[in-house]
Symmetry: C2
């Protein structure tokens, strides 16, 4: 207990080099008014004793926390999406000196609560948001306070901010195209919650696809909000009824699995009576149900890129230059 070595501080280095703590600080930050020789001496000593600046001191003085905050919806989990995202962020944060903090936000509480908390306590230097809405109030608040953030998905209000989004419109359009090429006629799509921005993109891609390839829409009484067991049951009913769809587009792996399970329950075979196209959130999907056509949305990459963008934003890079739209990469070859 008592023989614990306290971690070295600026004072330690100051004592060892015979300088003042200020000079040590300025030497380490490569200030112009410190001699070259001195700087090298300080740097040497610092690395020898393994000096790491004290976060609390730094934060108190500069106001910077060296932390990024991920705002997480604790309710819904789309098969591994969250962990992939966290892994991606973590990887990008490696050796940057930044830590990642996770801030839960539940469905039934005010989404602004975690943001306000972060803003007030300055417990993070930047925020990572997911499940972005067109007129997202969290985005509005962060823009208003001029606080750095990045979103997964876009807003739709003429706001300029860093984002990383998957081209869902193109994905759905290409999905429709693929189904059309396979001779499918009556397509259904399982839409994400209306309030999310990409719901609009999906609708646009779908409608355009139906028009361009002269297909009709089979209406499904299912949305992503529906519990998966019910998705399965509903799908089974529909497949047993009149005019079932012969192509279904799903926006997540879990939905795709639920849908395919329902279809099998109805005695139909995926790849035969109908095809399923899915955004691949889970690597499991591809070997589990190889008959499902999947496009890779690389969530791990998204996490990395969002983090890089946010760090750049914090460094002062303009929001305009930090907007990325990634495009679907199809896993199964055209003919297959």
């Amino acid at each position: 207990m008592s023989d614990e070595k306290l971690p070295p501080t600026l004072k330690t280095i100051a004592f060892m080099t015979g300088l003042s703590t200020t000079s040590v600080s300025r030497a380490l930050s490569d200030a112009p008014d410190i001699g070259q020789e001195t700087k090298e001496r300080v740097r040497l000593v610092a690395s020898q004793i393994g000096y790491q600046p004290n976060r609390a001191g730094l934060r108190l003085r500069t106001g910077r926390a060296n932390v990024l905050a991920l705002v997480l919806n604790v309710d819904d989990e789309i098969m591994g999406f969250t962990s992939q995202m966290i892994f991606g962020i973590s990887q990008a944060l490696k050796d940057t000196g930044y830590n990642l903090s996770v801030n839960p936000s539940s469905h039934d509480s005010n989404p602004l609560v975690p943001i306000r908390g972060i803003l007030q306590s300055r417990s993070a230097d930047g925020v990572i948001l997911m499940r972005t809405e067109p007129d997202d109030e969290r985005v509005r608040l962060l823009l208003e306070k001029d606080f750095p953030f990045v979103t997964h998905g876009r807003t739709n209000s003429g706001w300029t901010h860093p984002f990383y989004d998957f081209n869902n419109e193109r994905f759905v359009y290409q999905a429709v195209e693929k189904l059309a090429r396979r001779g499918r006629k009556r397509l259904a799509i399982i839409r994400p919650p209306r309030n999310l921005t990409y719901a609009t993109h999906i609708a646009a891609g779908f409608d355009q696809g139906l028009r361009d390839f002269s297909l009709t829409e089979a209406i499904l009484p299912i949305s992503v909000d529906t519990p998966l067991v019910e998705v399965k049951a509903a799908m089974e009913n529909i497949m047993r009824g009149a005019l079932p769809p012969d192509g279904v587009i799903c926006m997540s792996a879990s939905i795709a699995v639920a849908v395919s399970a329902g279809i099998e329950m109805a005695g139909k075979t995926v790849g035969k009576e109908l095809d399923i196209v899915s955004k691949q959130f889970s690597p499991a999907l591809n070997w589990m149900r190889p008959e499902i056509i999947t496009a890779d949305e690389d969530v791990h990459l998204a996490g990395r890129e969002m983090t890089k963008a946010l760090l750049a934003r914090i460094r002062g890079v303009g929001a305009h230059d930090l907007q990325t739209l990634s495009h679907p990469i199809w896993r199964n070859p055209e003919g297959q």
Copy 2:
């Protein structure tokens, strides 16, 4: 920019009440040498202006960070395990004043690195570990430094520390029992990585079960380390060969799915030629493959309980009183 209201500090309250900052501090912490009336006045003002103690100041002065650190293996993801755990921790942390930070640890790097970082920078007040090994060097280090932590899973070295574990031995024993009751004779089990503590528990439960119910073991050339696609392929081969197992026990949902996929590829039917028993990590498993027998390991609950235990440990509660072993709850009724 300039009209930003700075968050209130002790100084603000001191000014408003005409007291010194120290008295305000002591009033808020209910110190004995502050008058009752004064305390109430201070508390009133504090709540009116929404005072929140500055974390950096607190941390610098007291050394406490008000953060718990979750050490995450970034490599492997067992279908939603990580997010369930994070969600559980987050829920338990709600309104405690503690934040959660995520510290990645990759398979190919020294597992002590994140721990050392936390210890040196004191960036957290407690650590949450997963994938515990019998002679876990992270545990050894943390015990040596007398730093609060909790593990998911037990160690095996006569160490005393808070843990939360699932009774895997009982789970496997009961799994064998269930299979025996269904008339199964040749059982296989897909074991987790040898280095993890619970691998031993599983072996013990399995061997005991085989003895008690007079069954034989069907050796599988598969471990959890095997990529899932290969698990599927291997399973298919085995089912096509001579002396295939008629019961398989899996330690995670993803493995169970891979196994069942392999079995179907071989033209066999789960629930008919053989049964699968799985620890249910993913809610998807249960509705997707109702024929798989599953026991609930509630990871969300594990996260909550581990967090509570760690917070108690930080408050000084003895490690002995913070050890929990949860027991399997079987989802499918006996007869089914």
